[in-house]
Symmetry: C2
Subunit: 170 residues, 2 copies
C-alpha cells in the first residue's frame, strides 16, 4: 500500500480508494445512503454553481436499462444500486468528477464499496433516466456493501511520480 | 457544520472541505508536497488510463502569468504555489475533477489549504506552461498553509437535499 503509515486516516483513505466490482446483495441502509448523498450535496463546484443533481437508481429494471448505455457497466449490474450524476446547464464535467470522488470517498469512509461507470451512449442514458434537454449524464457510481470475496482489479498500478509531475513548465 | 458527529474522520473531512483563499507565505515543506502529489498520482481514472500529469508551479513570475489566464485567480496570486492539472490524450475532464478532489482532500488531511482555479483562456495557459499540442490545462489548485485569518467565503451554502436527489428517473 502506498503512503507512510503515520499520516491521518483521511489521507490514507484518499490514497487507498479503489474501485470495487463485487457487491453483497443487501440494499444500503437508509442512514448510509443519506450520508453518501449528503457528501455529494456538499461538494464544492465552480462559483458554487451546483449545476448538478443525482438520480438514485434502485429499481432493478431501470438499473439494467442504464447499464446497457455503457460499455463496462457489469459492476452496476452486480451492485444493488447506483447514483447517476447529472451535469446541468452551465456546469463543468470537472465538477461532476469532484462530486463522484466525494461520493466514493464518503462511501469508503463508512464501509460502502463503489465503482465509477461511464455511460458512453449518454443520449440513451438520458432517455432511460427521463433527463430533460440541456442536462447530460455521462457518469455514475455503482454502490453497495462489498462482497465477502473481492476480485482484485488488474488495473491497480500507477505510473511513477517522475512521469506524473513536471516543474514550472511542461 | 453538516454531518453527524459520530461519523469517521474521513467522512467529516469530505463534507467539510472548503476552498481557502488566504494563505501564509511559507512554501510547502517537501514531505507535505510529496504527500499531496502522491495522492494525485494514485487517483483512479477511467480504465486506469492515467491520461494526465501535473505541473507544480513555484516560480512567482510563472504563477502570475498563469493567473492571468483565468478570471477568478486571485487565490492563486495569494498562494505560494499551484498545481496545474493537465488532461492528456484520451483522458476525460471527469477524471481531472477526481484528481483535483483527491489533491484537495489529501492536502486538507495534512493541514494544507487549497482553492481550485479555472483557466478560462486555456490556450494561453497552455502557452505559458509549455504544454504540447493535444494536451489541455483548464484547471489548477492553489495551495499553501492557511493564513492566520481566513475570510469566510460568501458562497458556502448548498441547495437542499430534495433539490439535489431524484429517485429512479429525473
Amino acid at each position: 500500500m502506498p503512503g507512510p503509515k503515520n499520516l491521518p486516516e483521511t489521507y490514507r483513505n484518499v490514497l487507498r480508494l479503489r474501485a470495487v466490482r463485487d457487491f453483497d446483495n443487501r440494499p444500503l441502509s437508509d442512514p448510509d445512503l443519506h450520508a453518501i448523498l449528503e457528501a455529494g450535496r456538499w461538494t464544492g463546484s465552480s462559483k458554487n454553481r451546483q449545476s448538478w443533481s443525482v438520480i438514485v437508481v434502485t429499481d432493478p429494471d431501470q438499473k439494467e436499462r442504464l447499464a446497457e448505455t455503457g460499455d463496462f457497466t457489469d459492476p452496476l449490474r452486480r451492485a444493488p444500486m447506483a447514483i447517476a450524476l447529472i451535469q446541468e446547464g452551465a456546469g463543468y464535467e470537472f465538477d461532476i468528477g469532484r462530486l463522484a470522488q466525494n461520493v466514493m470517498l464518503a462511501a469508503k469512509a463508512i464501509g460502502v464499496a463503489t465503482c465509477p461507470v461511464t455511460f458512453h451512449r449518454h443520449e440513451e442514458a438520458a432517455r432511460v433516466l427521463g433527463i430533460p434537454d440541456g442536462k447530460v449524464c455521462r457518469y455514475g457510481v455503482a454502490l453497495g456493501y462489498p462482497a465477502a470475496e473481492i476480485r482484485r482489479s488488474q488495473m491497480s498500478g500507477r505510473k511513477p511520480l517522475n512521469e506524473f509531475v513536471h516543474w514550472n513548465s511542461y
